[in-house]
């Protein structure tokens, strides 16, 4: 069917891009890959799997889980033990298959916990998963044998057993392994949305009672969906273990569960590919901005809150909102309004960042003996001027943005009204 794979060119382009990306940062003088880039790209791969598998719950089944990292983490821990066994020669499996074992570990645990959590839905479900997350975090610190306590467990990924004769000594080999598994997992999750279970997950999300009166037990739908999402999270965790060769408490604790939610939500839960965008963006912020600023988490938080308030369908939702306008060939009419919003928007952001950074350098930065440098100039955080400029940019930009946003709204509504009268079908849609 054309509709199912209509966007396949986008997928192919993304894969080609991901294949080529490490070579864009290849240093031909030293004949070496950029370690920073490879590690960031690898991180993106596993975060894409985490975010997509989380969206199998949040976006597709309407299940608000707070323990998704549990299954990612268990996949990671299990993989460390699998790799150690393989290294000792006790597990005659090639490296390429090991992530699947991590996935099965996630699946196994998700079956156990899913059985409990999916007895309920909505708020009660969320609370049970919160409990499960805390339970596992505590267990990870208590059971040293498997989890290694605070120090975690470590391994060596060079198990000398590969389908393709690879050693995985270099980061680029690991990157391609991650890319391959990210692709497999993504395609599998996409396939699932096109099966009876995937559709009934959407159906129980929209109206669980109606699903019951069509012969489906919503609990079974929730349970299967939850278990399968644990399988994929486990694969993500396995890739984490292979990349870092150490798995600690962080891989299954609450903050990573929250991260899964952030990535899925910011990217957009209503479109299949949305969480991919979220995972890429958050990883970029995490790896890139965290180098430049102590306060990167503040920015992620503010971004999340802004998205929840102004764009609840996420980045992907925002993009999809332009589809009818694009189809009518009227996207050009939005360019000027967009620029008019962008300028005050940028001013607002700069003002906000300025104030956050000034505060940060006044407190944490001072303690660390750092100074704020902007364009080669040292900035005195005790002077009035930088604070004043930032505050003016923030509030001035904010006020200006309000005016421009209203103008943008008018143009947007006008365009939508045009489309409505042009298309009889759309008339009912928007009425």
């Amino acid at each position: 069917m054309n509709g199912a794979f209509g966007k396949s060119w986008l997928w192919i382009a993304a894969v080609a891009f991901a294949l080529l990306l490490p070579w864009c940062f290849y240093d031909f003088h030293t004949a070496r890959h950029s370690g920073f880039m490879l590690s960031m790209l690898s991180q993106m791969g596993m975060m894409i799997i985490l975010a997509l598998s989380y969206n199998m719950l949040l976006g597709q089944a309407g299940l608000f889980s707070l323990c998704h990292a549990t299954f990612f983490g268990i996949g990671g821990y299990a993989t460390v033990h699998f790799l150690n066994a393989a290294g000792d020669g006790d597990l005659p499996l090639p490296m390429e298959i090991i992530p699947l074992l991590g996935g099965f570990s996630g699946l196994g645990l998700a079956i156990i916990f899913g059985y409990m959590a999916t007895k309920q839905r909505a708020t009660a479900f969320a609370m049970i998963t919160l409990g499960i997350g805390e339970l596992m975090a505590t267990a990870a610190l208590m059971f040293h044998h498997f989890f290694g306590g605070e120090g975690g467990v470590s391994t060596n990924r060079m198990i000398d057993h590969s389908l393709f004769g690879l050693t995985y000594a270099s980061g680029v080999q690991v990157y391609y392994l991650i890319l391959a598994w990210t692709l497999i997992a993504t395609l599998a999750m996409f396939f699932l949305t096109k099966t009876p279970l995937g559709r009934m997950a959407n159906a129980t999300r929209d109206n669980f009672e109606r699903a019951q009166f069509m012969g489906y037990d919503p609990r079974v739908v929730r349970f299967l969906q939850f278990s399968l999402s644990g399988l994929f999270a486990g694969i993500g965790g396995a890739l984490y273990a292979i990349t870092y060769e150490i798995v600690t408490f962080d891989a299954l604790a609450g903050p990573l569960s929250a991260n899964a939610l952030l990535m899925a939500y910011i990217g957009g839960t209503t479109v299949f590919g949305g969480p991919v965008l979220g995972a890429v963006l958050i990883t970029l912020l995490q790896s890139g901005v965290s180098l430049m600023s102590n306060s990167w988490l503040v920015y992620v938080g503010v971004l999340f809150i802004s998205m929840v308030i102004f764009a609840p369908s996420g980045i992907a939702g925002l993009i999809m909102g332009h589809k009818p306008i694009l189809r009518a060939g009227k996207l050009g009419q939005l360019v000027v309004p967009y620029i008019r919003v962008l300028v005050p928007g940028l001013l607002l952001v700069l003002g906000f960042v300025g104030l956050v950074e000034l505060t940060s350098f006044l407190t944490i930065g001072a303690a660390q003996g750092k100074t704020l440098v902007l364009g080669g100039n040292k900035i005195d955080v005790h002077a009035t001027m930088p604070w004043l400029v930032s505050a003016i940019a923030l509030f001035g930009g904010g006020a200006w943005l309000r005016i421009e946003a209203r103008h943008f709204r008018r143009v947007w509504d006008g365009l939508m009204a045009d489309l409505k009268s042009a298309d009889g079908k759309a008339e009912r849609v928007l009425a």
């Binding site: 096109k194 009876p196 279970l197 929209d206 109206n207 109606r210 012969g215 009912r428 849609v429």
Partner: protein, 255 residues
């Protein structure tokens, strides 16, 4: 689904009661509905008509009594099991999958009865027969021009038509319709009646309805429910002539 012995009522309700806390809503209702019958349940507001439907379809548990579907007891079963045994219902408040397309709504309604169960390995786009059946239903409901629209964006009358379509899609032999024409204009009501007649042909139909024109046009048997009790049940003429009914309900409406 077992084939009922001739004479076994399609739906048999024996002395059911339902209380919410101290309040008795259904106070001992018994009804036998024959296979193929078109049965209307009427009564003033708060008589317990919708509650009755909720009890029969398993949405709420009954407080006491027994319910049989084609001779098999169903009153202890959850809704999805009752549905699999051949009973399907619609809702007074439109109950569709708002964010899914109209086509997807109908296809989902077909899934269980076509044996797909919880399959996560059958790609839906390859299920020729299933997709053809969903398309056929779309045509039948006159919704084919709305195929890919999210169901929540349909007009009210269209949503009601979709609701009926989803109710009958699974091929249930007993259909419960809860106020299928509520809130419709006259033209819409006529169209809906036509649709109901068409898609429930050969099935047992039980409906709650306020519109007396619809009731007397469609029903073979009318049951009048007042304060959780049956005060009359029989063919339309008998019920219309019943003095208790006239006093309690119809009198106010039919001069």
């Amino acid at each position: 689904m077992s084939i009922p012995a001739s004479g076994t009522p399609a739906l048999s309700i024996r002395e059911i009661t339902k209380s919410f806390g101290q309040t008795a809503i259904i106070r001992g209702v018994s009804l036998d509905i024959a296979a193929g019958e078109r049965h209307a349940i009427i009564g003033p507001n708060g008589a317990g008509k919708t509650t009755c439907f909720n009890l029969i379809s398993g949405r709420f548990p009954i407080s006491s009594g027994e319910i049989y579907l084609n001779g098999e007891r169903i009153d202890q079963l959850p809704p999805h099991k009752i549905n699999r045994m051949g009973l399907s219902r619609s809702f007074q408040i439109t109950s569709i999958f708002q964010r899914m397309s109209v086509f997807e709504n109908l296809r989902c309604a077909l899934l269980w009865s076509r044996g797909y169960r919880y399959s996560f390995w059958s790609p839906l786009w390859m299920q020729r027969e299933l997709n053809a059946q969903a398309e056929f239903l779309l045509e039948d409901l006159n919704l084919h021009t709305r195929r890919d629209l999210p169901a929540g964006l349909l007009s009210y009358a269209e949503q009601r038509a979709l609701e009926i379509g989803m109710t009958i899609a699974g091929g249930a032999s007993v259909i419960l319709l809860d106020e299928p024409t509520a809130g419709m204009s006259n033209t819409e009501t006529d169209y809906a009646m036509d649709l109901i007649r068409r898609v429930t042909k050969g099935k047992t139909l039980v409906m709650v309805e306020h519109d007396m024109k619809v009731v007397f046009d469609l029903a073979d048997v009318i049951t009048v429910l007042v304060y959780g009790q049956v005060i009359a049940s029989g063919p339309p003429e008998t019920v219309r002539a019943n003095p208790a009914v006239q006093e309690a309900y119809l009198g106010a409406l039919v001069e």
